[in-house]
């Protein structure tokens, strides 16, 4: 379908609560199963991937942590990325600055600097020649990015810095990152959505803004948490009629009919949103099923990863 396995980096974005982290991890599992050495990079410090694989305290810190065969994760931390960058790029000057509290404070307070450092680290992870000492290259880096608005703003940051700085290392870094993230052979943006009005609107808006602001296409869309539509329209109508007619039915039957109607209505509403999304995108999104388990566990992730294979 999307041929995403050819890229070096996938940037996953979507509204808060749609399940981006789940999809990122499941996609990582799918990539690893294909034999691609894969790293799931998280940006929010929640270490979801590490926790999903049973690392109780979660923290991979800023270090690359092995989760399974060919599957790694890292929690990108801007300050750590800064120190790495300084020691790699700036040599003795770098050491002086790394030790300067003024400089650290300055970086913290500079608007957009977090995003630039974060993208810089994501870029480094995806390079065939790693800059970090002793680090092995990955075939695919999957970035679990913050909620949509922020995701797009983050992607624009390198270009903004390049324009403001004009010359010097930050300008050049900005240009390198911008070129990489907007190169369709190197990187791809994948949107994750729920089959609900707002996430669908956000996805369509993201697609438009990627084109207008960055000149890139949204490479793929994943719709998460789709309820099974067990009834279909005709049977749905039958059940609705039965519910009306069965005035003297037992509470059990009444409850069951109501539950069936409710799920059917919700599933139908979801299908309508998926159709709207597909029409807006001009192509069908990848659909992932609702997981009925108490929490998303490894079995659930494996199931989702099988569906996500199609994207690679």
């Amino acid at each position: 379908m999307a041929g995403l396995s050819d890229k070096r980096l996938l940037f996953l974005t979507g509204k808060g609560g749609v399940g981006k982290s789940t999809v990122a991890i499941a996609l990582g599992i799918a990539a690893a199963r294909r034999g691609l050495r894969c790293c799931v990079a998280e940006l929010t410090g929640q270490d979801r991937a590490a926790v999903a694989f049973g690392h109780r305290d979660g923290s991979s810190g800023a270090r690359e942590l092995r989760l399974a065969q060919d599957l790694w994760t890292i929690s990108i931390e801007p300050q750590h990325a800064l120190e790495e960058y300084l020691s790699q790029k700036a040599g003795p000057f770098g050491d002086v600055l790394a030790g300067s509290r003024t400089f650290h404070g300055f970086v913290q307070a500079t608007p957009g600097m977090r995003e630039l450092l974060t993208l810089g680290k994501a870029w480094e992870l995806a390079q065939p020649q790693r800059r970090t000492a002793g680090a092995r290259p990955y075939d695919l880096v999957i970035v679990d990015a913050p909620a949509t608005g922020h995701g797009l703003a983050a992607l624009s940051t390198p270009r903004t810095f390049a324009e403001i700085a004009k010359v010097g290392p930050i300008a050049s870094q900005g240009r390198t990152l911008d070129a990489f993230f907007t190169d369709p052979d190197a990187a791809a943006v994948v949107a994750v959505a729920l089959a609900e009005e707002m996430p669908v609107n956000e996805t369509l808006r993201l697609r438009r803004e990627l084109r207008e602001q960055l000149g890139i296409e949204l490479a793929a869309t994943v719709v998460n948490a789709l309820l099974p539509d067990r009834l279909g329209p005709r049977q749905g109508a039958t059940v609705a009629q039965a519910e009306q007619a069965a005035a003297k039915a037992s509470p059990l039957v009444t409850a069951a009919l109501r539950a069936a109607r409710s799920e059917h209505v919700r599933a139908a509403a979801q299908r309508a949103q998926v159709a709207r999304l597909a029409e807006g995108l001009g192509s069908a999104p990848l659909e992932l099923p609702y997981l009925f388990t108490p929490a998303v566990d490894v079995a659930g992730l494996e199931l989702l990863s099988e569906r996500l294979e199609e994207l690679l």
């Binding site: 929010t44 913290q108 069936a260 009925f292």
Partner: protein, 384 residues
């Protein structure tokens, strides 16, 4: 004692939780229905005769339309009470619902305008490239402006109650830290050196001096550093104002008439976030009104034997066995969700303890996007 206190707290409903409260802040992770909850709470309190303003961050288009929110304005608009009355929620005398959709950039600009000592400084900041291009990315800027707006509205004294829908940051406490982070940086002695006109910030434009300065230039580049120095110098001049504002905000958050409401849905991750949020705020000695869990599935009789259910569906409702089997599967799905939600809610209740009463809002078949939906949600939040 615990169960009884919890039950009593929940029975009072949101009206009880917000009795005498001037500022209500709804916190929780993204996608749990905070905007809807904030609006439903605001409408319910307006119906009780209060003049209420809800400050929303990122409402869905249809809800924004229903509330009459003008995306271009950064001031409260009065919401027409007629659709609410039509939905069964008439506003008592004196009750008014107002709404505002936060425009973070505008709010920041307004703040600069208010704090700048003169027109020239104001213009310099507003036209500074860093400010123009990147201020949206200032760490916590959306959170900071939300609180700044809240403070401004509270200061007008126009409203009996303000309800704030916080932005969906992963670290929901970003908004508490935001004022501090800005002022702490600006107050840092090291930065003061950078900002002083005779400090090395200005020297960038002239001869280099010092190894660190040379290093800084090499790493950042002269143009950027010049723009940044100007940015920090100009904003640093507003330091007094920022600091004063941060203190006022802190006072507002700690005011005895301010309450936090936790908003979550029954999935594992949002609940973990709510627990984290509660722990951090409690450590900061903030006061809670209660917790609201949206989209809860519940069932009774879900444990029934499927074989028996299928037989009964055939016998009582006249369904074919095939259809009855499908219906039984739907019923099993609902049961799985109800069990999951019950377990997660119990976990939440246990962690929050009895001082935070919980209200559960059932999963409604349709999105909430208008007065009807807000009234439907409100019915579960407010005691009859």
């Amino acid at each position: 004692m615990s169960a009884a206190a919890g039950a009593a707290g929940a029975a009072a409903g949101v009206a009880g939780w917000l009795d005498g409260v001037r500022v209500c802040i709804c916190g929780g992770s993204g996608g749990v229905g905070k905007t809807t909850t904030s609006a439903a709470v605001a409408a319910g309190m307006a119906a009780r005769g209060l003049k209420v303003c809800v400050v929303t961050i990122d409402p869905a288009q249809r809800l924004a339309d229903a509330l009459g929110l003008d995306a271009l304005g950064n001031a409260p608009h009065r919401v027409d009470p007629a659709p609410f009355a039509a939905a069964g929620l008439a506003f008592a005398d004196g009750g008014e619902l107002w709404a505002l959709q936060l425009d973070a950039k505008r709010t920041f600009d307004e703040l600069i305008e208010r704090l700048a000592p003169d027109a020239r400084t104001r213009e310099e900041i507003l036209s500074n490239r860093i400010y123009r291009e990147l201020s949206g990315a200032v760490a916590g800027s959306q959170e900071f402006t939300a609180i700044a707006k809240l403070h401004d509205l509270a200061a007008t004294g126009e409203f009996d109650l303000l309800v704030l829908d916080t932005p969906p940051s992963r670290n929901a406490l970003d908004f508490l830290d935001a004022p501090d982070r800005l002022t702490q940086f600006f107050e840092g002695r090291a930065l003061q050196a950078l900002l002083r006109p005779s400090g090395f910030g200005m020297k960038l434009l002239g001869r280099t001096s010092g190894f660190a300065l040379g290093a800084l230039k090499r790493v950042t580049g002269v143009d950027l550093l010049t723009d940044l120095s100007a940015f920090f110098r100009l904003l640093g001049g507003l330091l007094e104002g920022f600091r004063a504002r941060a203190e006022q905000v802190e006072t507002l958050l700690r005011d005895p008439r301010t309450r936090f409401l936790l908003v979550t849905s029954p999935e594992r991750e949002p609940i973990d976030e709510a627990i984290y949020f509660h722990r951090k705020l409690k450590a900061a000695r903030m006061a809670f009104g209660g917790g609201i869990v949206n989209r809860v599935h519940s069932d009774q009789l879900g444990d029934a034997d499927p074989g028996e259910l299928i037989a009964r569906l055939v016998a009582e409702a006249g369904l074919s066995k095939a259809l009855a089997t499908r219906v039984a599967e739907c019923f099993a799905d609902e049961h799985a969700l109800a069990r999951r939600d019950r377990d997660n809610v119990a976990h939440l209740a246990e962690r929050l303890g009895t001082s935070v009463p919980l209200l559960l809002v059932p999963h409604l078949d349709d999105d909430v996007h208008d007065a009807d939906g807000l009234v439907a949600v409100g019915a579960h939040l407010f005691a009859a």
